[in-house]
Amino acid sequence: MTLSSLWVLAEPSNGSLTTGSLELLSAAHALATNVAAITWGDANAVAALAGEYGASTLYSVGDLGGALPGAPVASAIARLVESHGAPDAILIPTSYDGRDVAGRLSAKLNATVLTNVTGLADNAGLETEHPIFGGTQSAFARFTGSAPGIVVVRAKSFAAESTGGSPAVVAAAPIGDLGASGEARVLASHVEERTGPQLEDAAVVVSGGRGLGSADKYALIEELAGLLKGAAGASRAIVDAGWVPYSRQVGQTGKTVKPTVYLACAISGATQHMVGMKGSKNIVAVNKDPDAPIFQIADLGIVGDVNSVLPALIEALRQRA
């Protein structure tokens, strides 16, 4: 190992850390001698978890007083870099707040950001992997400037693995003077109803596309996902059409999923969709066009109409239940 130190942005979520954060802690643990995590909110509540996944220190930015995390958390990290010296790199999950922190921090430190990273290796220095052109090619890159490099990593790029480490030692990471930049405030949070597992964690993902024909047909996808104890996903075509919220979108500009099985229903298989799901263990596709590109990566392809295949599948699964 030539990397001596990596820091990881560990995003809090309901008293725990996001799966994406745990994945990055695991990746960092495998690459570097020293791993520190940075979190906000109640750090003491997640110190054991951060330690278990490989962090020895957990820097606590503390309560943000309702501010959007980007500016205050980036400020605290910039101050840590000043006081403790720069790590080789700072790993940040690709998420709403993660990207904000990365952008702010990059400008504060005059540091380069590499985004959409799906692989990390120590190849006489940190090397990053980026899928390009819808995942048909991989570009590898490295930082050429001074440390720290900022790396924004896509979810599901690494497995989250417990190291059995002891709880991380919590240390304060105070926020600097933010001026106008920290003035965005969260007034209220709205949680949309969801049943079943999260899209990214589900063992079964059933996704629908434009070929469903209309928004109400998405009920077939949800019902099927429910029967298979999975999550319902979507192509961008039907997210943009307003049939389902963006949080369901799979692909380059949406989520990456790697379930045991992915059922693509009336989805053509654009490269930008496939880059988000071709890491699935098994792929089943239903499409009425025998030449649809999705069939090129499907383990089982059914050339047929979703209006007949899906109701029959739902019926068959109901009878087994």
Binding site: S13, L68, G70, A71, S95, Y96, R99, A102, G103, R104, A107, A111, T112, V113, L114, T115, N116, P131, T136, Q137, S138, A139, F140, R142, F143, T144, A180, S181, G182, E183, A184, R185, V186, L187, A188, S189, E192, R194, A203, V204, L228, G242, S247, T253, N282, I283, P290, F295, Q296, A298, D299, L300, G301, I302, V303, D305, V309, A312, A316, L317
Partner: protein
């Protein structure tokens, strides 16, 4: 209210894409206005309309040999465009681009800066926030609804679980998602009017930014390789047995 919209001209994402020997994206073909930015343009036009005064300025960095994409934004209703174009900016990374745009936008002293959450060709998704930091402005990303009330902006910001109501004083930087508003099609009148609207082309020297560019980018692409292709399995034409085939497959992999 004066609104700046960051908008990028990109190679058509639906067309095949390639890399130059330098590993930069080949941008030699025709450039179009990134569809992701049409939402920002529309949002800006609606906000200025609601405020009752002010104008929309489109700011871009990139090759200026062809500005049809920017004319498209002008045809939608933006008042003018500023494009920073310079051979030394070829292959600029997100932070360098942000420094250049910050210099171009700072001179305009806008009340609001809009951008897309991510571009369709680079999709780094960090530029607008880097810009906000350089301009010392608050930022709200992933807006799915935007309203302005005097000098306050209110945004419904997408989250993992749903959305947050977020507020900030103006000026601010806000990034909008596809679907925040429905972009209008340029009218014939708009297209004609756009032909005579000002498009200012600036160089790095015009902005006094020589040292920013000289610093170069802090990254290098080391190699590009073909990704491993996934093999396809069986394909059946459904003649009433499609659902059964799927059930059998799910059984075989022990999902049911």
């Amino acid at each position: 209210m004066n609104v700046v919209v960051c908008a990028k001209q990109i190679p058509d994402p639906a067309a095949p894409q390639s890399l130059e020997p330098s590993n930069n994206l080949n941008r030699s073909g025709k450039l179009i206005l990134d569809e992701a930015d049409t939402y920002g343009v529309e949002m800006a036009l609606q906000l200025v309309d609601a405020a009752g005064s002010g104008e929309v300025t489109v700011v871009s960095m990139g090759a200026a040999a062809d500005v049809a994409g920017l004319r498209n934004a002008l045809a939608m209703g933006a008042a003018k465009a500023v494009i920073v174009s310079d051979d030394t900016l070829r292959g600029a990374d997100a932070l360098t681009t942000a420094k250049v745009l910050a210099a171009a936008i700072g001179r305009l002293e806008p009340d609001l800066v809009l951008a897309a959450t991510e571009s369709s060709d680079g999709y780094t998704g960090t530029l607008p926030v880097q810009l906000a930091e350089l301009l010392d402005l608050p930022s709200i990303t992933f807006a799915k609804k935007v309203t302005v009330n005097g000098t306050t902006i209110n945004v419904e910001r997408q989250t993992e679980a749903g959305y947050d109501e977020v507020t900030s004083p103006l000026p601010a930087v806000v990034t909008v998602t596809a679907g925040v508003v429905e972009p209008r099609y340029a009218s014939f009148k708009g297209i004609m009017a756009a032909k005579s609207k000002p498009v200012e082309v600036l160089s790095v020297a015009d902005l006094g930014l020589g040292d920013v560019v000289a610093a170069g980018t802090g990254q290098a692409v080391t190699r590009v390789v073909a990704a491993e292709a996934r093999q396809s399995g069986e394909k059946h034409v459904d003649d009433g047995d499609g659902a059964q085939k799927i059930v059998a497959f799910l059984e075989s992999i022990k999902v049911i």
